[in-house]
Symmetry: C2
Subunit: 215 residues, 2 copies
């Protein structure tokens, strides 16, 4: 097996970043099922990508495959985990304990991949004091102090649109480096803050577009 | 103003499709705020795209801009709505009335854009008979009959991973053309069925990747 380094000086294209979690998910399933090796053709078949695309994607991170053998599933999964940064634990804070916040907090599979919700905040006095995601729901007023005292990797915004930017500002002021944004608004942040948007309506609009494109 | 037709025979790149809802959202805000026109540079500034990218994106659907004037906000919004297929109403069915299904069903802004949840199904006897999203929650057993009797544009899957494929199969057998999938699994469907995935974990993994990429 040859193991090249990551292509030097090349930014990883957005399309590759989008596909990485898909590889991770499928390889995890294969490993659980006891599958030891897989070819790029088989991977492509299962995931609706071409074998060429898979070879190209994985070449951004080093060449793991071997001619005539394919990929060793466990090794490839290990590499994909490293690339995704899953060798460490991330501490997260959730703001918004409404329906969406509840769904996020109780979503299967975050914690076991190293993403831990450490605290939950809301402004609703009916929710404050309740338990969610293993945490007591705190008043939003306490967020700045919490951020002073605790290191937080990811701030989750699960509030209505109107509150999105002000929560974002609190996270930025508190030194949170990354924001996972479910509020349906475009957040303005300094360049060094990473924002990953999860806009339900955008996804639904893309679906509508594709339906109309087909006619 | 020149108005060219859509670039002939060119498939719209995924990147453009991803950005269309962002244009829609921002133009809607501008129109509500009474803004009448905007330049590609201003659009770019607000959305963190380059002016060249914006002009290129919009050229896929005809050229709406005018040199030295920019875009008329209402006209551009109207065109983007047409492109996205928002001139019509979509009937949707939701399977899964747990936390995630509740969040989807009560998410702001779907209905006013023409996306109507017409029926909700679950397998949990404690949920069946309750109300959600203006519907009585029905037993999943009733789904095939419902699909026989009602035209459904979009099937929403908000179930755990294990149930995802079987719900998908029920939708496909019932002639539902499009599936909005929140269950964290890759769905196998015939080519003619459109699937839009909304995988929370994938989004979180992309965020982790970008954090690690920055170092």
């Amino acid at each position: 097996m040859t193991l090249r380094g990551r292509r030097k000086g090349e930014a990883v294209p957005q399309g590759v970043v989008v596909r990485l979690p898909i590889y991770f998910r499928y390889l995890t399933e294969l490993e659980s099922a006891g599958v030891e090796r897989i070819s790029s053709a088989q991977l492509g078949e299962a995931l609706d990508f071409t074998a060429a695309q898979i070879r190209s994607d994985l070449s951004y991170f080093g060449s793991f495959g071997q001619q005539g053998y394919g990929y060793n599933v466990s090794e490839l999964l290990h590499q994909v985990k490293q690339i995704l940064g899953l060798q460490r634990v991330y501490s997260m804070v959730l703001v918004g304990a409404g329906n969406l916040g509840k769904a996020i907090g109780s979503y299967e599979g975050f914690r076991k991949r190293g993403f831990d919700i450490k605290a939950v905040f809301d402004i609703d006095p009916h929710l404050i004091g309740n338990h969610h995601a293993g945490c007591v729901i705190r008043s939003l007023d306490e967020l700045p102090k919490y951020l002073e005292e605790n290191q937080v990797d990811i701030g989750i915004i699960a509030t209505p649109k109107e509150a999105g930017q002000s929560i974002c500002d609190l996270f930025v002021q508190g030194g949170v480096p990354s924001i996972w944004n479910f509020s349906p608004t475009h957040l303005n942040t300094p360049d060094e803050v990473i924002v990953e948007d999860m806009h339900l309506t955008d996804s639904l609009l893309r679906l509508a577009f594709r339906m109309n494109e087909r006619g």
